[in-house]
Amino acid sequence: MGEVINKSGKPLQVNPFKLSQPMGATLAFLGIDKCMPLMHGGQGCTSFTKVFYTRHFCEPIAIQTSAVTDAIAVLDGGDYSIVESVKNITKKVTPSLIGLHTTGLPETKGDDIRGVAGKVEFPLVYVNSPDYEGGLESGWALTCKALIEQLVEPSEQIDVKKIVILPHVSLQPIEVEKIKQTCEAFGFTTYALPDLSTSLDGHLGDKQAALSSGGISVEEIKHLGDATLVLSVGDSMQKCAAALLGKNSSMRHQHFSHLSGLEASDSLIELLMQESGIELPQTNIVRWRKRLQDAMLDSHFSLGQTRFLVVGEPDQLAGICQSLYEAGGRVAAAISSVDSLQLEKIRAAKVLVGDLEDAEKLADDYDLMIGNFHCEALAHRLGKGLVTRGFPNWEQVGNALKNDVLYEGGAYFLFECANAAEEWRTHKAS
């Protein structure tokens, strides 16, 4: 691990890849079945967010706005717009849950959304997620924590065959599915909270729904308190795990900073073997481990001579950098959107909180970028290779089905990086 710079050294962001906390909250609510996320703020925040995710997932995105206006902004405590929103939403559809989350506007006004939530006679979970604090990752985590605190019923029972996964925001739907399937391969009934793997995985539904289609159900959330094991993935999810453990003192918890690369994957499998008593995992798992090993060897020569710049959310960076590291990839710098304890653990020569202007300043240090859509223009202008990862990816389709985790995803990730590096060396390197 190298030098860590936890704060940006300038007054502004230039070409930011950071995303806001309410957007993370929205996404978390979209992992709940038949939920209607309700963003409390001006209509623009919601509109931007809706377009943002629609383009990333190529799916219609359910979300509504409390449409706070000038007059209300000054006069109201949030009551009117929220109560009115719930009324108008439920006129047309019947969500299983309304996911109320705030932006900076009502937080600046000091709206008491907890108070308002108490007055609403409809299933509703609220979360304070001002966009002048945190970022995508914390917005998602705060929401997950709110879901747990406000929905999960305390329990003293334990279902020894039940596991709850708490995935960080940057895990794409297929990745959550793969983690769930891995647990299920050891005989566990597995739930993910939130669960994008069944809502935003890019499936053609039977009809066009106005609510989120798929995800974990509210009923299932209520009963998460009797799982034998809680697996949090990503340091941002630690507090969620703590909240869930608060519901039942008999539940146990295991934390993973990420599930990328051979070592982390081994840890998960080892845990599942212990927990299940199964001594030899399914053929498929055994096979994919051998393939990941082979992928590491097949890609090591290429990656070992390639210098990477990775930009993204802290938990995402941790996984990507570890995967690269294990096969010899040299992460010259990892740029994080926000500060996090995770930064200390990232396998990179340099870790900083910053923006794409910082990426540009570091141009001499790397060959290939890994980051979101906004890196595209930069990579092209600087003549760098690019592997697109993170939110948003507006240029490509199939983002929800890009798997980088565990043995299988790890193998494909290394192949993709090595192939991008060779393509770059052949055609772009001077």
């Binding site: 377009v51 409390s66 002048y132």
Partner: protein, 450 residues
Amino acid sequence: MSAKPKIRELLDESACEHNKSKKVACNAPTPGATTGGCAFEGAQISLFPYADAAHLVHGPMTCLGSSWETRATATSWQGRDFTQMGFTTDVSLNDVVFSGEKKLTDSIDYIMEHYAPEAIFVYSTCVTALIGDDLDLICKQAAEKYDVPMIPVHAPGFVGSKNLGSRLGGEAALRHLIGSKEPETTTPFDINLIGEYNVTGDMWQYSHLLDELGIRILSTLSGDGRVADIRTAHRAKLNVIVCAKSLISLTRKMQEQYDIPSISLSFYGKRDTSNGLLAIAEALGDAELIERTKKLIAREEAKLEEKLAPYKKVFAGKKAVLNTGGNKSWSIASALQDLGIEVVATAVKKATEADRVKAREYLGEEGVLMMNPGAEQAKLIDEKGAHLLLAGGRSLYTAIKKRIAFADVNQEKKKSYGGYNGLLNLAEDLKNALENPVFKLVSRRAPWEK
């Protein structure tokens, strides 16, 4: 705060036809039942295409983080293209509590030092408007310090819709830029293009024709625009509003202040493009120019028809249902008709009265004006035997259930549909849609559903 435009006044803008019939909808979005962007977005849309100016968003991360690099507004500016960059103060809790003014001032200094733009537009947003950061003062001081225009744009999201924001953007340009500089030369045929943002190069589909006719684009708000040019806009002979009702207030004020008349038109489809060119010539009032314009139109239409011929064969007998809003309800219909496609129905739910009149005009008595398109369109496809549905993404389901071709009118466009040549792009895309087997195949039943 005197420099801030009066919101209420803008909302009641007399030139806004939209307002006349639906005053309430215009200024009070319904909580829990609102779609569409906010005033900030509108202001950005109207000003962002100035590629020689930095656009600094003073607010928290949602405002810029989710919105930069979303619009393909082409520019010929040779310097660094600021339309493809994002600048934001990314205000934090600390700023909210103790004011973000210092951060804003520092940010302006940073931008001037590192990027030296021709101007900086500083956008207020909900949070920074609410905490009362004094943009006017900061911009004034910075403008003096750097001798470069610093334009405060007061369009925080909560004041209203995207449309209102565009008006506020225009207002900011009028107050801080227009009239602040004299053009080096003038010609009798100087015009301003207002509301043309040159998305995917739409403007370039016809700007060369204006050029050929001797009509000079003195300035634009703001497609392929330059700060220096818009400052001279008060010397134009004519304001041409391109498909942008939101900027009528701007042109009205320019008429009041500078005596510049304005016309409103569209460059979508063959007929509208021809009508638009002629309207400009006529508004400029020069007989010879009008004659030249007529000849050019005849030439361009002939050229276009030749290129369209193979497409028209494909489109012969094809019927379309159009489900979109606003002026698209008739402008796309018109373009479709130019291609030889029969438009059997168009949605007018979200259209103004004037738009409905126009739609009726284009579709004729046989055409259906859908007031509740969501429910009507499927039935109409069957009844009319339509081959093509043009609508937003949500209606794709209707198309594949009916096994007819679909074109997403909201699809992120990468190529222009504007002017004469743009019609060829539209033709190509619609041909591709009509010939694409996916709409018939994709909804085949799964083996386990049989």
